[in-house]
Structure formats: structure tokens, C-alpha cells
Amino acid sequence: MTPTRRTQRPWAILALALAAALTLSACGVTRGDDGEANRRVSMYIPNSPGGGYDLTGRAAARVLEDADISGRFEVTNVIGAGGTVAMQRLLNERGVDDLVMSMGLGVVGATYTNDSSARVSDATPIARLIEDQEALIVPKDSPFKTIDDLVEAWKADPQSVTIGGGSSPGGPDHLFPMQMAKTVGIDPKQVKYIVYDGGGPLTSALLGKKIDVGTSGPSEFEGQIKDGSLRVLAVSGAERLDNIDAPTLKESGVDMTFVNWRGILAPPGISDESRDRLVEMFTEMHQTQGWKDAIKRNGWIDSFATGEEFATFLAEQDKRVETTLKELGLA
């Protein structure tokens, strides 16, 4: 037998005491109190902590908890395949009415590039929360001074312009230049797009002039833009951004808008009452000061929409992403 036989007793007592102490002190953390307002809600986050969906989802959950609109939130990061794994799990939880998932444009693209049968349009739409614009960013001494310079050079020889983005094919930074190429009359297949692993490596590639143009949300480059080492040619939304001195694409003669949005979905097959309850919950959250602060702190743009408006938007986005990726042979 083991040589530590003598110490058997103290081990057992210590372990038991530890277990008892833990159980007593922390017992019942998963138990929701009774009553509608205190129901526990689960939230899936389709990427890792610190990522975009995580920041949005956790910010919303925190506001909901703090303002006593909902009970305790149980947030789980379901990581995999750009959100496809989380999407599939949400669809599998048919009829579960205390579960939501934060998601956005990138998840829509990921379901296609990963050949998944999970479709965002199969889930129950709850609310669109925020949006981020995309920006066309160039190094300080780039020959492209305006968007026209870029479009001209791009049209003359699509291969001569190297575009880098922080998301993989199907993600916002990739979809944006592809849709823009199509708008200005370039075959998206001709676009030279290079994937960088997030904002950091992309910044480095731009500063080191390894690529000609970067496509990304401008907030990650704020410091470099202020400092003048990077310039923004245009932003992709319908309106200009407060803190960035750059025109919209529409103003510059490229007739398109593109936003990277994030929102909330629930599983399919939940009752109308359950859906309305969740919609009501997020509507209430949207009005709190806490949420306004969160939006400000993260530099997001409020684009709240629920019900039919969000459902239509979601279906339209799904279609548009599918078309773009089909043309590229990625879906």
C-alpha cells in the first residue's frame, strides 16, 4: 500500500471540511429567485473573452443585471469556427426561452464559409444593439489622397492594390472591400485581400507599408489616426463619425453603405410571449444610462432595432452576405 497510510485521516477530514465550507458559503449560485424580473438568463458568446461579441454581450448582461431588469446572467463563451459552433448550439436549443446569444455580421459570414447548415435567419431575432463603421485606412504618405485616387488605381489594375483586414474571409473586414469592389465595378475575385490576425498585426502592416489599404473598424486605430501616421480615406456608414475627419463613401461618390452590426438572437421555436418578454427586456436596457455609458466608453454607435425591423434587416443581411460569398466561391 501507499507509504502515507498514516496520514489518511487528516486528508479525509481536511477534504471534507473544505467541501463542506465551500458548499455552505457559495451554495445556490445557480438558483434563480422566483418572479419574472429575477429569472436567470443564459447568454452564449460566439467568440473568446475580449472579442467584439464578448464585449457587447457582457456589457449588455452587466447593464441588465445592474439595473435589475433581469436576474443573474450566466455568460458562456462558445468558441469555434467564427461563431458557427455557437449558432448551431443555439438552434439546437429549440424552445428554450431563457437563452440568448450575442452575434453580428461576422457570424452570418462564418455560417457560410464554414459550410454550416445553421442559418441566422432560423433563430428568433430579438434586437440589434449597436453598429460599427468600417474605414478605409492608408499609411501617412500613401499615394492615395482621396477615395477617388484609390478607386481609379484599383479599377485600372485590381491586382495592384493590396488590401489587408483583421478578419478572415466572411468577416466584416473582408466583406466590406468585396462589396465595395462590386459597387465600383471590379470583380470581387480580382481583389487582393490579405488576412491579418486582428487589429494589432494589421496596424503593424499598415505602419510598415506592407499593404496599401487597410479595412477595419476605425476605433482600433484611433491613436495612429490622431497622431497622423495613418489616414482615413472614407468611412462606410450612412453618416460621418464625430471623432474622425473623413467623408462617407456615399459623399465620395461610391454608392454604398456598410455597417458591422451586433445584436441578440434567441433560439427558434419559443412562444410569442417569451419572445416579447426578451424584446421588452432589451428595450428597457437600451433606455438605461448604464447602456448609454457602455456605448460611449466603447465608441460604438447606437442602432437599436427590434421586431419586424430587425427581422427584415437580418434576412436582408443574410441574403447579401450569401450573394457576396457565392460570387467569391466561398459559400
Partner: protein
């Protein structure tokens, strides 16, 4: 230079009671999460981001820095004691560190790791203080071609660690490269068997834990001594003169490897720890000890690991450029206070930057003070009964794999690769080349793709950057040197004493 004054002011900020408390908390938390595979410093920081709502910016950053350094150290503790690397950066440490522990030299392994981390962290932080702004502007000039050359250098170094049988070394390496192919990083699903759960590839930490911990536990189970067990001696609680003599050079060399790799985009800690290991093995006076618990093989990689953490701060603070996931989240934290990161951080927020740098010195000292006295205590952990030791290893390995996203599937992967680890031990395949294949394969492909995409397929781009040229010249010179010395096989047979062995 006014930097010294600024640094002293930084110490004043960092040494307030409140900030000292946060530094201590960070170091503790970091060590705790570093121990668990699956949960790393990056994830912990992300989960703690909400703290920025309620704590001052200096306190939050000081705590985050503590977590960062603590995580590096915690990862190596379990590598040494349980053969279960908590982070990908401490994978190399497990090779010699665990062998040392099994020989009753756990305390020495932990001590050389702690002191090496301290030395490297301190030198690294000093380099940040002195050189951050001028270095950072050089860093961005490195592109795909330079990274590709550095990866080739690492691959070249790998041949040094293939073990005694070249054939088996290459088998392990290519199995690793095959595992590294899994996933959809190229835009198409490779070897995923149609499962989206495999689309992101297999996490290097899961592979390392499976190969080291699960494989080892299963192998031991197949051969567990049935007679009364020898108790692993705790041995001397402190490093001997000889240990010091054998450690200090590897510490410094490890620092020299780690710091630059931390600073460059796509660098990280894995490649420098590996290069450090290969170097120490080549330079060691007793190369035959490698693979059986050579202290140089712990000292060098551990120093490289911590120096790279310091190097990460160069581009982060100087131009707001994160080169690792952890750095990216620290950047996020700074931004959530409304502080502009980028080249203006040093001039715009000098108090904050210098307080952070000062707290790095403090954090390193705290880690040393905490861990040195604990080393002999930790080493006693190995004396728990064998069934408990291995049951505990399996327990924590499973928890680590499961905690990534709470899917049983990940546990399945862990088991399958663990069985591969068992087979590797049965067939004498070295494990390190496999791990290296998993790490380097995807990076190599990625950097080659990026380089050639930018150059539109023109292959001459690969030697278009000065760093790349220097690396290729270095590789070529080494090759010439080896050939000139007569290509003698490294010691064909390790000194075998009691073991049975069949020579081919």
C-alpha cells in the same frame, strides 16, 4: 536622460499601498490561472476587464501586468511538477523540468525558473525603459519575409532536438505538422471531417497537455511499479553552486532570445523558448544530460519566456501595437479609460507608462519572493501517493481542456491525442518535435502566404528584408561550420547504464 527621474516617479506611484495590493493580487491571480491549462493570462484579463469600471487606471494596469508575469510563472510550475504545461510558452520547460523533478530536483528546477524569470523580466523591463520608442519604429519594418526567415531558423534548430533517432524525430515532426494542418485558417476546411468544432484547428495547449500529461499518465499506468514505491526525494531545497554556475549563462542567453521575439509582430514566446532550448543543448558541457533533466534546459527557456513578455511591451507602449493576445487586451483596457494609445502614449500619459514599468519591476520581485520559499513546498507535492498524483494530473488536464468552451468534444480530442502520446512513448518517438510541428506549421504557412500574396507570387520577396537576409546568412554559416567540422553524428548512443536496449 530624464527617463530615470520619470522612472523614480513611477516607483512612487506604484509603491502606494493600494497599488502594491493590486500588484500582489495580480501576481497571485496570474500564477493561479497560469497553472490551469486552457485558462491563460489573456482570457483572465478579458474576464477582468469590467474591473476597469471601478478601479483607477494605474491600479488596473499594475494588476494586469502582475497577471501577465504571474501567468508566465504559473505555467512553468505545473510544467515542472506535473508535466502539464499551463501555457504554450511553458511547453519547452516541461521537457527538462519534469525530468529534473522526477529525479528529485524539483526545487532546483523551480528555483532556476523563478530566478531566471526574474533576471529576464528585470533586464527586459530595463530594455523597455531605455529603448521602447526607437525600437518600436524598427519593429513595424519587419514583414512576412522576416518572420518566415525566423521560422525557418526555428525549424533549423529543431533538427537539433530530434533526439537520438533522426527517423523517429522526423516522424514526430511530421505528425505534428499534420495536426497543425487541421482547421479552416486558409479559408477552406482541412482535415476537419466536416465538423465545425475543428474549424479553428486544435489548440496547442490541448495538444501539449494531451501529449505530455495524458500520454504520460497512460504510459505510467501501463507500467506502474507494483512493488512499494520509492519516494521521490525532495533533495536539496536550494540551488547548489554548480546549479548557479550552470544557470546564469542560459538565463542571459534566454533573455537575448526572448526579448526581440516578444517585440515583433507574430513573434510570441514559443519560438524563442525553443531556440533557447536548442542552443543550450548545443552549448552544454554535458549534452548527454539533456532529455534526462538538464538544468540549462529549464533556465534558458524560462528566461526567454519572461523576456518575451517584456518585449511585448515595446510596441504596445511605444506605438500602441499589440503583438500578443494578452497585449491586445491590455490595450483595450487602456482605451476603455478614454486614454489614447499609440505613439502619443509616452508623451501624453507619462505618469501612467512609468508607473506601469515600475510595477513590472515590483511584480517581478514579488514573484521571486513568493516563489523561491515556496519551491521546496511545491516539490513536496510530488510525494503524494502515485494514484493521487496521476488522478490529479488527469483531473486538471481534463478541467483545462473542458474550460476552453465547456464542450465534451474537447475532452474527446484530449483523449485521442493522449492515446497518440501513449503510442509515442511505446515506440520511442520524441514528443518535442511533434509539439514544434503543431506550433510552427501553421505559422510557416501563414507567413509564406502573406509574403507571396503581397509580392504577387514573386519569390524574391523572401530575401527582400535585411533581417531575413541576416537570418539566412546565419543559417548558411552554421551549415558551413557544421560541414567543415565534419558531419559527425551527435552522440549516437546515450550512456546507458541499467536500461536494456537493442541497437539496430
Amino acid at each position: 536622460m530624464g527617463n530615470l527621474d520619470l522612472l523614480l516617479e513611477g516607483f512612487q506611484t506604484a509603491l502606494t499601498l493600494e497599488n502594491l495590493f493590486y500588484a500582489l493580487l495580480g501576481v497571485f491571480l496570474g500564477t493561479a490561472v497560469g497553472v490551469l491549462p486552457g485558462i491563460g493570462p489573456a482570457m483572465t484579463l478579458a474576464l477582468l476587464l469590467p474591473i476597469t469600471y471601478s478601479v483607477g487606471v494605474d491600479s488596473a494596469l499594475i494588476m494586469f501586468a502582475g497577471i501577465y508575469y504571474g501567468g508566465m510563472y504559473g505555467g512553468s510550475t505545473t510544467s515542472i511538477l506535473l508535466n502539464t504545461p499551463g501555457e504554450s510558452s511553458s511547453v519547452v520547460t516541461a521537457i527538462e523540468g519534469n525530468k529534473m523533478a522526477k529525479k528529485g530536483r524539483a526545487a532546483q528546477a523551480l528555483a532556476t525558473a523563478a530566478i531566471g524569470s526574474f533576471v529576464a523580466g528585470t533586464i527586459g523591463t530595463a530594455l523597455v525603459v531605455l529603448f521602447a520608442p526607437p525600437l518600436a519604429s524598427q519593429v513595424v519594418k519587419l514583414g512576412g519575409p522576416s518572420n518566415f526567415a525566423l521560422l525557418l531558423l526555428a525549424l533549423f534548430a529543431v533538427t537539433a532536438v530530434l533526439g537520438t533517432s533522426r527517423l523517429r524525430g522526423f516522424i514526430a515532426l511530421f505528425l505534428g505538422l499534420a495536426i497543425g494542418l487541421v482547421g479552416g485558417q486558409t479559408g477552406q476546411q482541412r482535415l476537419t471531417f466536416g465538423s465545425p468544432l475543428l474549424a479553428d484547428g486544435i489548440d496547442i495547449v490541448v495538444v501539449a497537455v494531451a501529449i505530455f500529461a495524458i500520454g504520460e499518465a497512460l504510459w505510467v499506468a501501463a507500467h506502474l511499479r507494483r512493488r512499494p514505491l520509492d519516494i521521490i526525494p525532495v533533495g536539496q531545497p536550494w540551488m547548489s553552486r554548480e546549479d548557479w554556475g550552470r544557470s546564469w549563462k542560459p538565463w542571459l542567453r534566454g533573455t537575448a532570445f526572448g526579448f526581440p521575439f516578444g517585440a515583433i509582430p507574430a513573434g510570441g514566446a514559443e519560438i524563442p523558448t525553443l531556440l533557447s532550448y536548442a542552443t543550450e543543448r548545443k552549448l552544454a558541457k554535458h549534452p548527454e544530460e539533456f532529455g534526462k533533466g538538464a538544468i540549462e534546459g529549464v533556465a534558458g527557456p524560462e528566461a526567454a519566456n519572461n523576456a518575451s513578455a517584456a518585449g511585448t511591451l515595446v510596441p504596445l507602449l511605444a506605438i500602441g501595437l499589440p503583438t500578443t493576445a494578452t497585449a491586445a487586451i491590455m490595450l483595450l483596457a487602456i482605451q476603455s479609460y478614454g486614454i489614447e494609445t499609440g505613439p502619443q502614449l509616452f508623451t501624453g500619459e507619462p505618469e501612467l507608462v512609468w508607473a506601469l514599468l515600475a510595477s513590472l519591476f515590483i511584480g517581478n520581485t514579488l514573484l521571486l519572493l513568493l516563489n523561491l520559499p515556496l519551491a521546496p513546498l511545491w516539490a513536496k507535492l510530488l510525494q503524494v501517493p502515485r494514484p493521487y498524483l496521476y488522478a490529479g494530473i488527469l483531473f486538471f488536464a481534463s478541467l483545462g481542456a473542458y474550460s476552453v468552451s465547456f464542450q465534451p468534444f474537447d475532452l474527446g480530442i484530449l483523449l485521442v491525442i493522449g492515446l497518440l502520446g501513449l503510442a509515442m512513448r511505446r515506440f520511442g518517438l520524441p514528443v518535442l518535435p511533434l509539439i514544434i510541428g503543431v506550433i510552427l506549421g501553421p505559422k510557416l504557412e501563414d507567413q509564406l502566404t502573406t509574403s507571396l500574396q503581397i509580392s504577387s507570387g514573386d519569390i524574391s520577396t523572401l530575401w527582400s528584408e535585411p533581417v531575413a537576409v541576416i537570418v539566412y546568412v546565419f543559417i548558411a554559416a552554421t551549415l558551413v561550420f557544421i560541414v567543415a567540422n565534419g558531419l559527425r553524428k551527435p552522440q549516437a548512443e546515450p550512456a546507458t547504464d541499467d536500461k536494456e536496449e537493442v541497437s539496430a
